[in-house]
Symmetry: C3
Subunit: 381 residues, 3 copies
């Protein structure tokens, strides 16, 4: 299954079950080709006329690696693949692909919940794994803003709701990168400024929150909750969908905020990071509370993902890197995330052994740390 030959202990460490510390639910319903294509791109539109989202690295990877899980030959054409998918049905496809991923625990960001998506518990059941929840801050804020009447309510409810949801969760997550960029003012906003901003917000509460003052208030409220409960705080950084201004999602832009969390001791976990994964590795190397993965980036760079993994491994301490699939919508993204994680790490470890740089014992230990040990420690699983 691995693309390179490795000593037994190293191979076993790589094939051991992974903790997927950041993922989403996959669809339970049958999907048309158009629906499926929209779930294998971070774009939000169909491919231009005469083209297909299958003609991408991730599309080719689905044909190569997911087809055999559905009993097809590798490189099956898209139409054949989708016909077989329909034939097996979504339930069976999800079970096969989630199981093939070899995950022992899913930490599910429930911020995108909808009836068509498997819940955290269902993800676990389908994948033969445990499941825990990661609470998405901006989702809580949206709920609160739609029910609060005055600013003080808003602030109180936000703190209460965050605390209540955190009590059942293993981590919190922010998508502030999407809402105002990571170059936000790191300081906790003043109570007065928050009240004024909340009053503006409550006059049109259905809008997606983009006010930097309230976003910073949300973050700092989350920091209080995270500190109290010993939870880490995940941040979307880098590669994502077209709502994002990529240059403002460079995690280095939040260095000031990271610096101010250092004495508080709340772990900061940088997700995805591509193409700023070297910046993320730097932050993980110099700040004791920063952790990093390249979740989404591996799935989408697919056949080219080994280089991304190798670049992250240039600088990141072995006790600071984690695995996530960031799967969403289709279970293919879970299988591919896990597969390319194992393939990429296998290739770097093989190179380290060939160069005489690391010994097999260390390689096995490092694979265990990155694959599950670090996440178990930080999320207290």
């Amino acid at each position: 299954m691995l693309p390179v030959d490795l000593p037994d202990a190293v191979r076993e460490a790589l094939q051991a079950p992974l903790v997927d510390h950041h993922c989403h639910g996959v669809r339970r319903d049958e999907l048309s080709r158009a629906q499926f294509e929209l779930l294998i791109t971070e774009g939000s539109t169909p491919a231009p006329p005469g083209t297909t989202h299958f003609d991408t690295p991730v599309g080719a990877a689905i044909r190569r690696w997911c087809a055999p899980v559905l009993d097809l030959e590798p490189h099956a054409p898209p139409a054949v693949y989708l016909a077989r998918r329909a034939e097996l049905g979504a339930g069976e496809v999800n079970r096969r692909l989630l199981e093939a991923a070899g995950i022992v625990a899913f930490l599910v960001d429930t911020g995108l919940e909808s009836p068509e998506l498997l819940s955290a518990a269902e993800m676990g059941r389908h994948g033969g794994a445990a499941a825990d929840e990661i609470v998405r801050l901006e989702q809580i804020e949206q709920d609160v803003s739609e029910t609060a009447h005055i600013a003080v309510d808003y602030m109180d409810s936000l703190a209460e709701e965050l605390a209540a949801r955190a009590a059942r969760a293993v981590g919190l997550k922010s998508i502030v990168a999407y809402r105002c960029g990571l170059d936000f003012d790191p300081a906790r906003p003043s109570r007065g400024s928050v009240i004024a901003a909340a009053n503006r917000r409550l006059s049109d509460p259905k809008q997606r929150l983009t006010d930097p003052i309230l976003l910073r208030h949300l973050l700092w409220t989350a920091v209080d909750v995270a500190r109290e409960r010993g939870l880490p705080l995940q941040f979307h950084t880098g590669y994502g969908d077209p709502d994002l201004d990529l240059d403002r999602a460079d995690p280095a832009l939040m260095t000031g905020f990271i610096r101010s969390l250092q004495p508080i001791g709340v772990p900061v976990i940088l997700l995805h990071c591509y193409p700023y994964h070297r910046q993320a590795a730097y932050l993980a190397a110099v700040f004791p509370h920063v952790y990093v993965d390249v979740g989404l980036a591996l799935t989408y760079t697919a056949a080219g993902s080994a280089r991304v993994m190798a670049e992250l491994l240039e600088l990141v301490p072995f006790h600071k890197q984690m695995f996530s699939s960031d799967c969403y919508g289709v279970a293919e993204t879970c299988h591919l995330g896990a597969l390319y994680f194992r393939h990429g790490l296998a290739r770097t470890l093989r190179a380290r052994l060939d160069d005489g740089e690391w010994n097999p014992t260390d390689c096995a230990r490092i694979a265990h740390m990155i694959g599950s040990g670090n996440a178990r420690r930080v999320y207290r699983l």
Copy 2:
């Protein structure tokens, strides 16, 4: 000719004639060593005393790959190379190198036209290829500003002249990256602000345009023309000459502008991009109307260019990448652009086959798309 062994169909696809969707004319006259050295660097000064611009990746590549085209041994010393070049004469050298590039169509940016440079038609004749024109916006604007008398004239003439030139062209090109950076305000400027800025401009019309309001007006006028005629809009991004502030030439900085062109449907083509080619690939992956190449970067990174190509291929959809040589001044840059494009793509395809990631049929198809198919479709050749 290719650096790796490949299945016949893949090799043939890579060796098939390329559409060079962005290039410039090469010099028709004989060049001194000093002149030649200045045309093989993006710098604008001679190499420091005791050094030579031949001691660069592109300089080494000329000695390696262009020398045999002039009947010399590979790695010929610079003096020998230049003596042979003079002996053959510029016409013969241009014919040999342009033909060796294996180009079927040159799309020539005519914005740098001068009597010493081959015209688009001559590029085609020398290279045994078709030739079409890409209109450089800032050149049109310069002509208009030198002839218009009042702001309204300026605006009308600009629209008319752009429309007239576009009628004979296959695309438009902007070098706004050089003039104010890609972090310009994406909104169309108000008529009032354009009139005020045009009046300032017309008081000193020979200056190079750097006013962001007029540059944005120029872009939006070009968008109108491009939409009407179904033309794509090229943008210089990334690596260029020292007039540029490289950090402001990151294509991710123009995400807002790209977003506002999405409903209009005008294709945006990001040129060069290095070292921001991963950002460019991201934009091509999430926006349906964005295309990308790494033209200039391959020639100048030369022996190291396979990694640049591989990094672009990590994320870019196969139907979104194109080839350009961005040749300028000396025909060596055309031959090397095409050669390193083929070499780099060959190496990545070889790796995909070795890893079992893509099959030969797909590899051949991808090589055709990137080498010519995508350009034919987008430029309607």
Copy 3:
């Protein structure tokens, strides 16, 4: 010793003594494990509970490559390594590791001087090498601000002290990247603004200087001195300790300042640069007075450093790259800096030979230029 087979001339060129054009003193005293761990990270805190700074690329490299220099097996456990280190004593360890580095001249940044660090002369003696001084601007400024009484004194003393120190040095160095970022206004500040800022400064002179006006004044005073004495000006860029905002240490941000030094002719030397080394290579390629290394980055990326070196070599002219170890605190960082420099360059040269891109004569010449020739020329050694 090299990781790849090479023609004799190339191997000899790589093994020839290096000019280490940027380094610091190493500790003369015996170190506890806690002290040692803090000297093998750019972070400023112990590794989190249950983890160790040995579980990093540089930590693994110490066990692999420095252990044998202390007569241990490769991959010795940290405790064994540190016990042997204590057994031999700091003096012997320093002599062995500095000698193993194969350095012919150390250019020592003396801005961090303290009694526990070897002086420049001692570094030379321990390493069997010559030693010269690089003057750190911000250190001079700190001394001056603590003794000057009024603004005019401050300005005069600064110019005098810089000139006096420069008279005994081979170069100057700025850490403005740490103090206000490289996106500073490139213009020389007005005398009036400097006097006003100096008066503010003198009211609290023990503070670390962060005022952009005084930092710019310091730089421009240094430019005057450097021009007069023909000295180059080094800049910390990229990777460093957590005081830094990494995104503001991208050398491309100082393009305006670089541009304004071009007519003055003072060489600008960009240190470290990671992960912006491609931007640095671009600057070295288009500006005649810009030079570059990836000193610190090679030590810390260790087993992954060959890729960093390869990326720098994509674009940098052969007469523009230098070697530095940036060693500090422990002599291990000197040995590893030199080792990974030679390993990385060896791998790229091997690849160029395998690909038929460069010939052995050129490879040997390039190795000599980068390893020592360029530094000898620019620092006039």
